[in-house]
């Protein structure tokens, strides 16, 4: 198989480093993105279509990161793009918001089981931060309970005391408990009676570097019960998993109702919008917040979001993605077994997480991932992956073929 060359990506990175902090910052950069080793990974893209992207050197990748989630229907989906184009001709960022905003909110209220209203912003972090503000404003309490291994964005309240730029006061009201630990949950309520504004959690634990963990039977229901009993707001951060488990919300998938639920990523197939949806009793509080942004009410992403949700409904997309993900993961596990490797898949198949169980250092896993990327299958080392609707049977077949070749290379190197 041909191995990729990244000369142009590296030239672009040298340029980028001169004018951009760390060249590419954040999760899409080589450090935070865990490009291990870095020379296996492309740094910059040229274009994308369907389930593929092409890097700066023209290498094509079957993309299992989907821009870290937003690409759910396939890059450049014609229906979403057409809706966006039509709205762009009418106007996008205008002094008075477009009525697309109302239509989008109505559609979300109609689609998301726990939603009585929708509030729009740009990034997932805007939605989660809005949820925390709302919970604190409603309860007049300070403390927030998190589940260990959480990720809810990058605002100071989401970070940890040892992160650069974070001061103790930013996080001194954060309480962290283990996932799926009902006893810890009871203890935290007992020890902080009348002080907990909110519990915030992703629908299941999709932290990095460890197998993703689904909720234990009855866990969310107990969280819900305790929140109700203690007048604590229950926030579900569905930014990452939203619409890949259940179009009605991941709380619906797991059989409970959140008070506030946050969406972004897959909401508009790559158009820039996020949404915080909530229960009626929190609507007045949300109205009272001083919380807005220059582009939050832009009309084009609303039009794209409407088209995206309508198409996801038509396709029964969550089921389609889970079926594709399951087929892919079964193939990967089988390919690993041929070469004596124990590949574990965790999480929901449409958001699968991969780990080599026979390698506690993760180094062999990193070698295997790098050999896949060099051959045009874009996996990442320690983050869950994403399935999109454009992923074809042929893509899945090619991916398994590349994965098997990569396993063979790693096996030969370590035999």
């Amino acid at each position: 198989m041909k191995l990729n060359d990244y000369t142009k990506s590296r030239e672009a990175f040298a340029r980028a480093k001169r004018v951009i902090p760390s060249g590419i910052y954040g999760h899409q950069g080589p450090a935070e993105g865990c490009f291990i080793p870095t020379d296996a990974f492309p740094y910059f893209s040229l274009r994308a279509q369907g389930s593929y992207f092409w890097d700066a050197d023209g290498n094509r990748f079957i993309d299992y990161m989907c821009a870290y989630g937003p690409n759910i229907l396939g890059y450049n989906d014609p229906d979403v793009d057409e809706a966006a184009r039509k709205q762009r001709e009418l106007g996008d960022c205008i002094t008075a918001p477009s009525e697309r905003m109302i239509e989008f909110a109505e559609l979300l209220v109609d689609t998301v089981a726990s939603a009585d209203w929708a509030f729009f912003a740009k990034n997932g972090n805007d939605a989660t931060t809005g949820a925390i503000l709302c919970a604190r404003a409603y309860t007049h309490r300070k403390k927030i309970v998190f589940f260990r291994g959480y990720y809810h964005g990058v605002s100071p309240w989401t970070q940890k005391v040892d992160y650069p730029g974070i001061i103790e006061e930013d996080v001194c009201n954060n309480i962290c408990i283990p996932w799926n630990d009902v006893n810890a949950l009871h203890t935290v309520f007992e020890e902080n009676k009348g002080q907990i504004a909110a519990i915030i959690g992703q629908p299941y634990l999709h932290g990095n570097f460890a197998d993703n963990e689904l909720p234990a039977p009855g866990f969310w229901q107990e969280v819900r019960r305790l929140c109700t009993e203690n007048d604590t707001v229950l926030i579900v951060d569905d930014v990452r998993a939203g619409f890949r488990l259940d179009l009605a919300g991941s709380d619906h998938y797991f059989g409970f109702e959140a008070d506030l639920i946050c969406f972004c990523k897959a909401l508009a197939n790559g158009y820039n919008v996020s949404a915080l949806c909530g229960k009626e009793f929190l609507k007045n509080t949300m109205s009272s917040l001083s919380y807005t942004g220059s582009y939050w009410l832009s009309a084009v992403p609303f039009a794209a979001g409407i088209a995206c949700i309508e198409k996801m409904k038509r396709l029964d997309l969550a089921c389609v993605l889970q079926e594709k993900g399951q087929r892919l993961c079964d193939g990967l596990v089988f390919a690993a077994g041929k070469y004596g490797f124990d590949l574990r898949v965790s999480g929901i198949p449409s958001l699968f997480y991969l780990r080599r169980a026979d390698d506690p250092t993760l180094m062999l896993h990193q070698e295997w991932i790098s050999e896949c990327v060099r051959r045009g299958v874009y996996f990442t080392n320690h983050h869950n992956h994403f399935i999109n609707a454009a992923l074809s049977d042929e893509d899945i077949r090619e991916t398994i073929e590349v994965a098997e070749e990569a396993f063979r290379v790693v096996r030969e190197r370590h035999s």
């Binding site: 760390s22 080589p30 993760l362």
Partner: protein
Amino acid sequence: MTDTRTLSYINLHAILGSLPMLCALDSRAGEILGKKRMTVGISVSGGSAAPGAAGILSFENGRCTYTECAPGSPDVGDAKIVLTFPTPEKFNGMIDGTVTPIPKKGLLRAGFLTGPFTRLTDLLTAYLRPKDEDLADPAFFRISTMLMFHVIARSVCCIGNEDAVGRASASYIPDGAVLLAAGNEISFAVRAENHRLSLSPDPTEETITAEMRFADLLTARALFDGKINSVASVGDGLISIRGMIPQVDNINRILDRVALYLA
């Protein structure tokens, strides 16, 4: 942002704890010490609520060894010269040169402290706080950077164990051994066990679970001096990471605090 007790651990275990390496790298250190045999025990009180740092420096035939001791260890009292400090501030003052220690034991041997020991620590200071013109000499640069690397690796352990924010970082480090290396010139292994950090006496004996490797000593020096950033350097391949990344990631967060303490 920093605390004097953690600084006293760094000053003892990392700074004075680098004297053995100095003796191994620069023959002038051996000449200063001559064939003299001496042991110096140092014990620092951490205050009423916290343990303090303790260790023993042993000198013999121009060589030196350093042994970290448990807080309040009676072994310290067996040394020929014993220095005890009622507070971390007093000990840090000795390192800064603002406090003159009076031995609790071995007063008649105090000449070792004012003579060879002081000349040895002056030599160490020349390497750890180098002048730009000295760094232009490749041999000096090499020794200075290797010593600095050692101080930093040991400081990571001190901060991860003693500093409140450092302990928060260490609480996220899974058990294992993290190799910190500069090219093939020098390497250290930081061991993590139940979120307590220690420097391995021999990295080659460790089962390495993660690695942070600087391309060479130049890269290491540039990072230590704050001239390059670790995140940016991963992108251009000057720093490579692999293995159990939460170990590397959280050690990197502690490294940020090392700069605060050593400033």
